[in-house]
Symmetry: C2
Subunit: 136 residues, 2 copies
Amino acid sequence: MISKKTKYGIKALVYVAKHKHKETVQVSLIADTQNISPKYLEAIMLTLKKAGFLGSKKGKGGGYYLRRPPEDIKMVEVMRVLEGPVAMVPCVSLNFYEKCDDCPSEDFCSVNRLMIQLRDSSLAVLNKTTIADLVV
Amino acid sequence: MISKKTKYGIKALVYVAKHKHKETVQVSLIADTQNISPKYLEAIMLTLKKAGFLGSKKGKGGGYYLRRPPEDIKMVEVMRVLEGPVAMVPCVSLNFYEKCDDCPSEDFCSVNRLMIQLRDSSLAVLNKTTIADLVV
DNA sequence: TTTAAATCCTATAGGTATAGTAGGATTTAA
DNA sequence: TTAAATCCTACTATACCTATAGGATTTAAA
């Protein structure tokens, strides 16, 4: 299960992507139309900005805009920023690798190989899908 | 990320599957060899028993055994029992469906379609893999 | 110059799930 | 009778999620 943070973040990115390049979109507008808690969404937008997906303009008439063309933003990047690793165990994560405390060797771990397959099947989807694909 | 419960549960099933049919395997042995907290594993084994994967024998010389041939136990069943839904959002779950509070319509939800693709790619892996495949 | 609108930032709280632990009840082979 | 094993209930500690609160800062426009 993905977190609401991830779900909200994707919805917000798609919403912003529907607007013209550099046209600012306010958090309050996104929150209203997408049924998201405004303050919570604020924090999510900050995260997406720090990750480089969004730019912002402060003050009256300000808001957020996409910094990259939507067709260039792969969902795998978005997921890693919002949700974390694509892999379901740290020991098969490409970007967030960690050794398991309980496994003496990954080569002989029964779970390991299954998780690699799941990771790769998810990566295939997330690598070929972009924000532009989610804009209807 | 899957829970340790799921990881431990899979390892335990695979461990039991390596033994002869109806030969009992003790929780303490699995816990020792797989580096799992014995009491925690106890609870997991109970879950797997109630789900029909394992049978048990109480008392001295007792333990757990597989109730079904390992090549008949699909990983998708195991995952659903231990981890819950395969889908990453309830609104695309086949076995644990729930409507989203925030979405007025699933047809127009940008997240929905991506999550269906992720679900199906995971299902493809989990449907074709069995416990027997994880036994080396 | 003032005001309102907007992002930005920190701290905190409440709820829930995870990963156990504790202690005993029950069953069974030897 | 004893020891070994599953079975069962209840509890705890920690971390994470989902916000909320309150303000600081910046900016356009009146």
